[in-house]
């Protein structure tokens, strides 16, 4: 402490000298009126100082490291070296997202492995071990049939979306025509409509007998056929595919298409032989996103069939099928959910490189 120490500092020094006289230089104590201690204390915390109180700002007068806890030491290191803070933030976020996404699957697995009737109080481990649930799933209901239906519906929708989306993407991405912008905006606007808004008219339509469909569906309606899901779901997921494909097709140089046309293709031939192969990441992205979206879709899948596998009920109906009127076979629902996720998981793992490059390349259009 020196003589030019500001009054408040010496004030605190004096206070601490009072509380802990052994540690402080008593010489620093000046003739400060006693009520100053009190006033000073009021500004700090609003409470009058009591004997033996440790005052705020006390530590800053000390050599800092001496009485710091482990967290404070870590904080001071992080300030000196921000990399540590970023790294810890990264791990915190990663662990958080891994937990929130993967823990439900873990729990699903635990529920599936727990034998029937013992589902209460599963926390981290299954109450028992019953891998037979994964086989029982197929015995109680023809679950493979539901999966097949879902697979067919998702594949058909993907094919339709890619073919029509490619044609639309070609037109929007490579041709100049009147009304192009309004049409793109229209596609965008329609994609913003909630799909549920279409349900009632569509359901009505699909329950109406159409003479032309009679040879195909028997009663002439689309209800209980894959068409009842493929048609609306293709339409709902089409705009996204159109936008992805438009961006990609627009980037293929004009000369390549001209070359293909001079060499002997039509415009369509050039699209399928040159433009689409060169836009493979975009096509894969649009295809995988559509497939997953249709495969996972709930609303139309739930309502457009009567839930029987022979009537093209999808996976979802299969999972819900283990929910009876009087009992709910949770372990089978969990097991079937896991089985149902597997095809999509495989698809994502196989295609993830293309999807990532597709999504980023689409965003980086120069």
């Amino acid at each position: 402490m020196t003589d030019d120490t500001p009054p408040d500092r010496s004030d605190r020094a004096e206070q601490s000298a009072e509380s802990d006289p052994g540690n402080h230089d008593a010489a620093a104590t000046e003739e400060v009126p006693a009520h100053w201690h009190h006033a000073r204390r009021m500004t700090d915390g609003g409470q009058p100082a009591k004997e033996g109180d440790v005052l705020i700002g006390e530590e800053s007068d000390e050599e800092a490291v001496l009485d710091r806890g482990p967290f404070e030491r870590w904080a001071s290191k992080a300030i000196k070296n921000p990399e540590r803070a970023y790294k810890s933030m990264f791990y915190t976020a990663t662990i958080f997202f891994l937990l929130t996404t993967l823990f439900p699957f873990y729990w699903l697995l635990m529920v599936a492995l727990t034998p029937e009737g013992r589902q209460q109080d599963i926390i981290l481990t299954p109450n028992g071990f019953n891998p037979g649930a994964f086989i029982e799933v197929f015995e109680v209901l023809p679950f493979h049939w539901y999966m097949f239906n879902s697979f067919v519906i998702a594949t058909a929708s993907t094919v339709i979306v890619l073919v029509i989306g490619s044609l639309a993407g070609y037109a929007f991405g490579r041709l100049d025509f009147r009304g192009k912008l309004p049409m793109m905006l229209l596609v965008l606007v329609i994609s913003f409509f909630p799909p549920a808004a279409f349900f009632i008219p569509l359901n009505d339509l699909f329950n109406t007998s159409v003479f032309l469909l009679e040879p195909i569906t028997g009663d002439g309606t689309l209800y209980n056929t894959p068409g009842a899901m493929v048609l609306p779901l293709s339409a709902i997921f089409m705009p996204l595919a159109i936008f992805i494909l438009t961006t990609f097709y627009a980037q293929i140089p004009e000369g390549l298409e001209d070359a293909a046309r001079v060499e002997g293709t039509t415009r369509l031939g050039a699209l399928f032989r040159v433009i689409i192969p060169l836009s493979a990441p975009g096509v894969a992205t649009a295809g995988v996103l559509t497939f997953i979206a249709v495969y996972n879709e709930f609303f139309f899948s739930f309502l457009m069939t009567d839930g029987q596998p022979e009537n093209w009920a999808p996976l979802l109906e299969g999972i819900l099928g283990y929910q009876g009127q009087y009992e709910v076979l949770y372990h089978l629902m969990a097991a079937s959910s896991i089985i149902g996720v597997i095809p999509v998981a495989i698809l994502v793992v196989v295609a993830q490189e293309k999807i990532v490059s597709g999504l980023t390349a689409g965003g980086l259009k120069e």
């Binding site: 000369g255 070359a259 046309r261 001079v262 060499e263 192969p277 060169l278």
Partner: protein
């Protein structure tokens, strides 16, 4: 092989007219170059031949057939592109055989023809490479092989050498000429590089603003340009233009007069505004005047800037002090400046007063208002007869 004929071809994009009523006929086996500045419609004209662009009006004939509405693939044309346009996802063999495979030739035939084509463009041993692994020149050779493998009636080449470096461009230029000789094919070639146009073609079609200015053998375009545009576009550096006024007994410009008898030149009367054109190599120092058959009277000038090119020196001449170093006037069109080309051993310095003469037989006169050529070459003053350029090089 076939002839190509355009009949009143016009292409409009909205209000913009890209090609304006072009009619021309290209003989079987001819090498014709479309040349002109950017945006003159030369590529669009070629695209109407290829079928990539539909003309708004007019008809296109290949051989005897009207192909105006046919798809590109049905026209029997092959095209080489400026950006080369190889299919990046196919190897060289697949690129070259693309058109053959679409036409379902059998495999042995495809292989034979691809190898033959690769042979012609010297690509042996590279058939399994991907385009990305090749140099620009090799890629362009693949592009050419892709064009020749189908044995088309007409080759269309849209600035095929524009993206190559200068040395390779000269090399490919000779290769294309050799190819033309070997195949005897009809070739339409588009370029903005007049050196390519001059060296390779049988005839040059000069286009400007969508209109055909002149179609003639290269040296005819050079020596007898039909108008100011062709005169200024063909030749590097450009022809000198000096605006003047026809007086009794000649042409008067700001700084000099050229004698001739206006009555002898059709379309010229006293009082007309006429532009005199003379190429840099036809401007001579007065001391060489004797070697010319006929020269103008000496003209006072001062050398402004010298550009030694090695094989010649370009001398920028100022004809009047008033306009010294004027930056806002293009020396080619300024009435007070002339560009002269002299041999490199000529003793001349910047800022030197010199007397010059023009070679009368190489003077062109153009109508200033319309730009149309009036006469190429003024005759000897003693004869006072108009004449056209006595070039022997016309082919």
């Amino acid at each position: 092989m076939a002839r190509v004929q355009l009949e009143h071809v016009t292409k409009q994009y909205g209000e913009e007219t890209a090609v304006d009523d072009i009619s021309l006929e290209i003989e079987d086996g001819e090498f014709v170059t479309f040349v002109g500045p950017s945006g003159c419609g030369k590529s669009t004209t070629m695209e109407t031949v290829a079928g990539l662009t539909q003309p708004t009006e007019g008809r296109v004939y290949i051989g005897e057939d009207d192909v105006t509405t046919l798809a590109p693939k049905d026209r029997g044309v092959a095209m080489v592109f400026q950006n080369i346009a190889l299919f990046p996802h196919m190897d060289v063999f697949d690129n070259i055989s693309f058109g053959l495979r679409l036409r379902t030739y059998d495999d042995a035939e495809i292989e034979r023809r691809v190898e033959q084509a690769a042979d012609i463009v010297q690509l042996e041993g590279m058939l399994d490479r991907m385009p990305g692994e090749m140099s620009g020149g090799q890629q362009q050779r693949v592009g050419i092989a892709r064009a020749i493998v189908r044995n088309p009636d007409v080759f269309l080449m849209d600035e095929p050498l524009a993206n190559l470096d200068a040395k390779l461009r000269v090399h490919m230029r000779t290769e294309l000429q050799r190819l033309h000789r070997e195949l005897g094919a009809t070739i339409i070639y588009v370029t903005h590089d007049q050196a390519e146009a001059m060296t390779m073609s049988n005839r040059i079609a000069v286009l400007n603003k969508g209109r055909l200015q002149q179609i003639a053998p290269p040296l005819v375009c050079y020596n007898e340009p039909t108008n100011l545009f062709v005169a200024g576009f063909i030749g590097s550096p450009s022809m000198n233009f000096v605006e003047g006024n026809v007086i009794e007994g000649g042409l008067e410009t700001n700084n000099f007069t050229v004698d001739f008898d206006p009555s002898q030149i059709p379309g010229v009367t006293v009082g007309d505004d006429v532009t005199l054109g003379v190429r840099p190599e036809d401007v001579h120092l007065v001391r060489y005047a004797d070697s010319l058959a006929s020269s103008t009277d000496p003209i006072d000038a001062r050398s402004d800037v010298l550009e030694p090119m090695g094989d010649e020196i370009f001398v920028y001449l100022l004809l009047s002090d008033a306009e010294t170093g004027s930056m806002d006037q293009d020396p080619a069109t300024s009435p007070n400046q002339l560009l002269m080309s002299v041999t490199p051993d000529t003793a001349i310095e910047a800022g030197q007063d010199v007397d010059i003469v023009l070679d009368r037989s190489k003077i062109h006169l153009f109508d200033t208002a319309t730009g149309e050529a009036l006469v190429h070459g003024l005759t000897d003053r003693s004869e006072q007869e108009p004449g056209t350029t006595p070039t022997e090089a016309d082919s």
